[in-house]
Symmetry: none
Subunit: 188 residues, 4 copies
DNA sequence: TCCTAAGCGAGACGGTACGTCTTGTCTTCCA
DNA sequence: TGGAAGACAAGACGTACCGTCTCGCTTAGGA
């Protein structure tokens, strides 16, 4: 039973690897299920017995590869930039799994994981700057807008940094990004 | 000859209108060429004689509808937020053509126009904050990152504001957004 | 008024010429209306104002070119082969307008004119051998079969002879063919 | 593995049946691939994975239906008409699979199979009457012409007989036809 | 040791959308 | 006013993917 599971894990792993390789080659949108299973030497039905779609396989990537991936930083534990969110874990994890990260959130990737990650970053930011906004309906809206925009900013830094193959150390990019975000909220 | 052109314009217009309606109904990715032409009462070959793809039709939308659309603000002419980019024209044009704008850059839209617009905003920002960055290779990279992130921020505000059906006046959102962007660059 | 007619005739003529040239190039079935009118430098609507279809244009070919074409021989006036149909006019006309004939009844042509011609030959043969068949229903059927078959035979000779660019004199092929046909009916 | 083949055979069979039915309804040329697959309840891609075209499907008809079809008679084994080709098998097979035969060689059919069959009959005839022709170039040509014409004659009889739903017994039509052919060659 | 159930490859299949092609109709402009 | 130009609706074509499915093969684990 346990070795059956191991077999399944192996299949899932090779599927994720194939998908990542193909994304980096030709972009997520242009990858077909047929190409994935051909490269993985896996039957069509096997693919669909594990995943409903390409999207699901993409999202399962980190788990299949045994990479505890985008653990966003703990907002409570203040990072280097005392007044911004702690982005170091995010940049660190991404940078240390460059291929995977590029495939999932780089320019060749689709929106699937990107928007998911953006949302999580948004929540982190919201937590961090919760006290800056009032309780009125208007203030709630502004809060949402600022957090969305901040998340977009972080994503922008992250994607650019990855695509450039990390021209700066993790700490520097994380801190600079965090400071930029913090500054956005300055007059709030 | 001239009335032939008029006929063509009519066809193009109805095609764009159909596309926009369909995007708002079901999302850009889910719209098929067949649906567009069915709704427009246009032959398949007519569609392809004018456009190579859905994407092209989307991009031609403003022109077909006679809307001088995303004229990004003049970076030289300082807007309300003295120290930020002049975003008022952008928000104004978008807000005044809400359906079109939502279809092209809203959550239901695809990346086609969105990335195009983001790029143009990025350039506007770069122009505005050119003097904040040095000439070293490193500085150039940071400049790019900041401008990309700023553009993402603007897009974030814009999309959210449109999707919410403009809960704030054009001027207010534009100025708030511009100020947030300006603040990002504060220690640059 | 008369010069208008002349203009029309000119248009029809060039259409027929274009069609014939195209048939010889690529076979009747593969010729499109667009190609015909392009080569003829004629508008699409002009074509359709004169003819309903490619087929009709083909059939009008002889008239447009001023060629009194497939005047099948007079069955009454006995030809060289005293006991067969007088096929000389048929072979003669065809041979003397080789390009047209090949286009209309050769291997590259379609069935349109071919079947038409075959039918007329069949009638000629029926006339010639009317007296060989009785009046019973069965006899009528046999008569039809024999005449059809005879017409097919003539067409076979004619097509082969044209495609070979007339390796025998008109008189010889016509007579040989007529004799073969006559012999088919021998025990009738 | 074998049952996969069986599945394929079933698909091919139903495709052929659909094509035949449609030919008889509206003529080969007017049948579209869409109609075939609709009637067969088969996907478009399934059709094209088995056949490149309507033509190919038509030619595969006999095999798909398990009918060893147009086995032309053995020219060596003399048929009823001692001096003509043995056409009995041809007429017999055709008559016993009337629908298929009509679809493939009848008036509603196209040229695809018809010309193929005609060619085979021509070869049969050539074999039978080989000794009647000399070895000169001219004689070779005449031989070709006569054989073509004879084949056309046989086809004529066959098609007419099928379209009439076989008003004569197989043996009678075969013999009459064979005799007519034989007579064509009489003075050769 | 054999048996049975699951994972799996292979790939046929129905379906849908694509972009191309051709047809026959229609409208506009020009000579 | 007739013909050239060509836009147009219609719809078939052959291709590409998708997600479902059926089939045998392999391979463990429990009997």
């Amino acid at each position: 039973m346990e070795s059956v599971d191991r077999r399944i894990q192996k299949t899932k792993k090779i599927l994720s690897e194939s998908l990542i390789a193909l994304i980096l080659e030709k972009g997520y949108e242009n990858v077909t299920v047929q190409e994935i299973i051909d490269r993985a030497n896996v039957g069509r039905s096997t693919f669909y017995s594990h995943y409903e779609s390409k999207d699901q396989l993409l999202l399962a990537g980190p788990e299949n590869l045994g990479i505890r991936f985008f653990e966003a930083g703990d907002p409570a534990k203040p990072g280097a930039a005392a007044d911004g969110p702690d982005l170091l874990p995010l940049f660190r994890h991404a940078g240390r799994n460059l291929a995977l990260a590029k495939a999932m959130i780089g320019r060749k990737s689709g929106d699937v994981f990107t928007s998911h990650l953006k949302h999580r970053i948004g929540e982190m930011v919201r937590e961090k700057f919760r006290h800056r906004f009032g309780k009125s309906k208007q203030e709630k809206i502004w809060q949402r807008y600022f957090c969305d925009a901040a998340a977009a900013t972080v994503m922008g830094f992250l994607i650019a940094w990855l695509e450039d193959d990390m021209p700066f150390p993790e700490a520097e990019i994380a801190e600079t990004c965090a400071r930029a975000v913090a500054r956005m909220f300055k007059d709030r």
